[in-house]
Amino acid sequence: MSVKIETRKVGDVTVVDVSGRITLGEGSSALRDVLRDLSAQGNKKILLNLSEVSYIDSSGIGELVSGFTSVSNGGGTLKLLGLTKRVKDLLQITKLYTVFDVHEEEAHAIRSF
């Protein structure tokens, strides 16, 4: 299964629902394009829902980091929602878990912006 990405608005927060695999190629480039477009459209509050992401490789991690950096540089905030155990482990061993603001519940994440 490749990646599937859908966006929706909850108040002034843009929720990006990602499912499948974020790996080098189609998966990572699709995520990069979506985050770039959202930033270009002026979205400042972005919540990346990864609860249905089964697999992320180093390229996918790179896109998360780049998205986080570009949104922050544009004056916005990117937060993560619903990490699976494997994705959480991956962010922990790469020391990125504390870089991101990570939430388990969507309502709580929305309120945190």
């Binding site: 790996t23 080098l24 190629g25 490789d57 180093s58 390229s59 991690i61 790179g62 896109e63 980091v65 780049s66 986080f68 950096t69 494997r86 991956l90 922990q92 061993i93 790469t94 020391k95 990125l96 878990y97 870089v99």
Partner: protein
């Protein structure tokens, strides 16, 4: 988890110094896979799938298979993208062997090679937000042992090792 990261960082430093010497690749190991793949991203998926079949045959559980698959994917991507640079005239040679104690994966590209000591530590605070540069680290993190060496006339060989539980 901070302690785990520190331990992994130390292991990564050992990889960079190539101090991992307990890899007995030719010590009576049984060959499970020997195949040369073209330098395409499709090969990454195919090689990962073939090696996971071998890992399943050996008896690794789902979590261990996931770790092996992650390491293989990172290694194959490095070989195809950074080593062979998608050159269709170059191949990635993958061999998998099983000894009494080790599941051994060797992946060799035909690229120009690189100085492993020059690869920045992705856990260093100055490198945390870099877009790339985590592949080698993740291979070491997900496997029990790892070795990187240049091969002649040109290329890089990465050996990935997962310990095998003694069979009853």
């Amino acid at each position: 988890m901070v302690g785990v990261s520190s331990a992994l960082s130390l292991r990564y430093a050992n990889i960079l110094r190539s101090t991992c010497t307990n890899i007995n690749v030719d010590n009576g190991a049984k060959e499970l896979l020997d195949h040369k793949y073209p330098s395409t991203l499709e090969s990454v998926d195919i090689a990962e799938g073939e090696i996971l079949k071998a890992a399943d045959y050996v008896g690794f559980d789902e979590d261990e298979q996931h770790r092996i698959g992650m390491a293989v994917r990172e290694c194959m991507v490095n070989a195809v993208v950074h080593g062979n640079r998608y050159n269709r005239n170059k191949q990635v040679h993958v061999r998998v062997a099983l000894s009494d104690e080790q599941f051994i994966i060797r992946i060799v590209d035909q690229g120009e090679g690189f100085e492993v000591q020059e690869v920045p530590d992705p856990l260093h605070e100055n490198n945390l937000l870099r877009h790339s540069g985590r592949g080698l680290f993740l291979m070491g993190a997900f496997m029990d042992d790892m070795k990187v060496r240049k091969v002649l006339p040109s290329g890089t060989e990465v050996t990935l090792v997962k310990k095998v539980a003694p069979r009853k």
